[in-house]
Symmetry: C2
Subunit: 354 residues, 2 copies
DNA sequence: TTGAAAGCGCTAACAC
DNA sequence: GTGTTAGCGCTTTCAA
């Protein structure tokens, strides 16, 4: 703080008026204040370089105009764009963001406590869609505390939830490959872990989308066409090697690959390159996600772009609506669609040789 | 908030004691409180599900235990790791982070105002090293308000500043190339804009590092060996095309390239690939930065890894020290060194052909 | 049209 | 050991 904080009383004194009048003027509710008085007060405030103490205001108003953003890990690529979306709409509405990271269920619970102790007006949960326990969410809901959650497994329809249409994305990606003439289409999936804490709905939905599209066209989905890439660069790299080996052994190699996220796709491209498999001529690749470098991989990645920023915006909007209505409104489950962005990695079709 | 917030008075009443005793116990300063009373109070608090109102506490303590993090843009790749570093040490010390984004000088000034109105205890400025006006920083400094700035042009030695050793990085990268036997070494630089708002010290320092290393070995640094890649994927891609053209015209092509950041390097690799220039056989490439995908580009990128997380940690530590000392201490200018991470893109030396 | 005064929930002197 | 009380800086009745 500066030498000595200047308070509303200092301003009142300087302007020669009462504190309440200063308060009225500073809050714009000064219809009943004479122009002279107003000018006097404004001038005094300016001269003293007065900065209203929001903490004191929050204390009496019982509103802080801040919301808590709880994220599972700062490093996750989804975090920055989500925050960007959230920040943009919240700032417009005069809200602030308090950040809290919580990588495991316990610290999530404690983050909620801390944030509520800070008197945040609402909460946004941005997760990796891990299967965290939802007990504390349900408790929040019962207390009618405003919050919305992004990208998490939740079967409770009374809770505000923003999701991504992962199954649709898997289907669209695969359909694209099929339309290009491919019939042997493999997939590099996310972590198919049996550990309940690591299971993500998105992993299985994307995988199911692949199966559905295949089934709709009476195509096979044998297990030698799927490999677990764990959603990481390294995992994608290894999964391809595994897949090439598997398929070489059992039958013929796939001509196309649906890769369930963009990080794995980078690893996939490298493994394919090193194995001498040309993309897209020998192998078409379509991925999910749309990292800024998608157009600059070799070859440029065809992807289903994930509406991440939008997810943040929608979440923030939902929360703001709740907050300004002052009541919980009808809970919404919003599912955001992906969009196909065609680049180089699928080529012009199977029989055009690139 | 819940139905009705439970206050310290409720707890006191329930435990049949005075509020100050409750306060003492809850704050751990209860050496002089009898065990029975303590138990009583703790039990009452638990039963009532009491959650201390930090806002009220902040109000009387005149400390909020939150710091403001001002960033130029959420999308910037440096943002997430910096935040990660800051968050990690701040959380350990019981501090919270309020986020504010400010892409231009004006909104930075207003972000500072807003955050101070929120009574943050300190501020961390994380910028792209743009040449923002520093008037408001100087004002903060005069008021002895605690803050530290990361990665910004500042000649004021009385302000806490974390910088990266960009010149050293440029030099080390180039030295590495020279040690490998290269004598014609080009560079893809950041934006060499004349617009004062876009000029970044890092751009020129990295460039200077390149020149210095060259000069130290009596090598030429002709202008046809440098191209402006604007620090973007697309810019790197185009810059290489330009460079190849330039050098083809004037003399012989460089055998190595120092690329001033990792985003450009991705574009560079692609342009080189498309031009049929093999990396590292025909062209060695070393970049600055160390994105998670560095090991999975084709070929894997040799880089000078930027200590980004560390920058956040150091900044947070500096601020905490100031805060806990309660006085401004001697301002520090800390310069963080880069480290060479050798991968594939420089090969084994010029005359080994890869 | 304005000002005095009562809190918001908490901490910390200061009594007892 | 423990309770009473005076604020922290602000908003908001309520009375003038």
């Amino acid at each position: 703080m500066g030498r000595k904080a200047v308070t509303i009383r200092d301003v009142a004194q300087r302007a020669g008026v009462g504190v309440s009048t200063v308060s009225y003027v500073l809050n714009g509710r000064d219809d009943h204040v004479s122009t002279t008085t107003r000018e006097l007060i404004l001038a005094a405030a300016r001269e003293l370089n007065y900065r209203p103490n929001q903490i004191a205001r929050s204390m009496v108003r019982k509103k802080t105009a801040t919301i808590g953003l709880i994220i599972t890990e700062v490093q996750n690529p989804l975090f920055a764009p989500i925050t960007e979306g959230v920040e943009a709409v919240l700032r417009l509405e005069g809200y602030h963001i308090i950040l809290a990271s919580a990588g495991d269920p316990d610290s999530e619970v404690s983050a909620v406590e801390t944030l509520r102790a800070q008197q945040v007006d609402g909460l946004i949960f941005m997760s990796l869609s891990l299967r965290f326990p939802t007990g504390h969410l349900r408790k929040l809901h019962e207390e009618e505390f405003p919050f919305v959650v992004i990208n998490r497994d939740l079967d409770d329809s009374s809770i505000n939830l923003i999701q991504f249409d992962d199954r649709g994305a898997g289907r669209m990606a695969t359909e694209h490959l099929i339309a290009l003439g491919h019939t042997r289409i493999g997939t590099i999936s996310g972590p198919m872990s049996t550990d309940p804490l690591l299971r993500r709905r998105s992993t299985f939905d994307r995988y199911e989308g692949w199966r559905e599209a295949l089934a709709a066209h009476h195509l096979q989905a044998p297990s030698d066409l799927v490999a677990d890439g764990g959603y990481t660069y390294a995992g994608g790299y290894c999964a391809v090697q595994q897949l090439l080996e598997q398929s070489a052994r059992s039958s013929e190699r796939p001509t196309a690959l649906f890769v369930a996220n963009d990080m794995m796709a980078v690893g996939v491209l490298k493994a394919l390159y090193e194995a001498g498999v040309r993309v897209p001529q020998d192998m078409a690749v379509v991925a999910i996600g749309d990292p800024p470098f998608a157009a600059y991989t070799i070859p440029a990645l065809t992807t289903l772009v994930m509406p991440i920023v939008e997810a943040g915006q929608v979440a923030a909007r939902l929360l703001i609506d709740w907050l300004s209505a002052g009541k919980p409104a009808q809970a919404q489950h919003i599912t955001l669609k992906f969009a196909l962005q065609i680049r180089e990695s699928c080529g012009a079709g199977l029989h055009n040789d690139g």
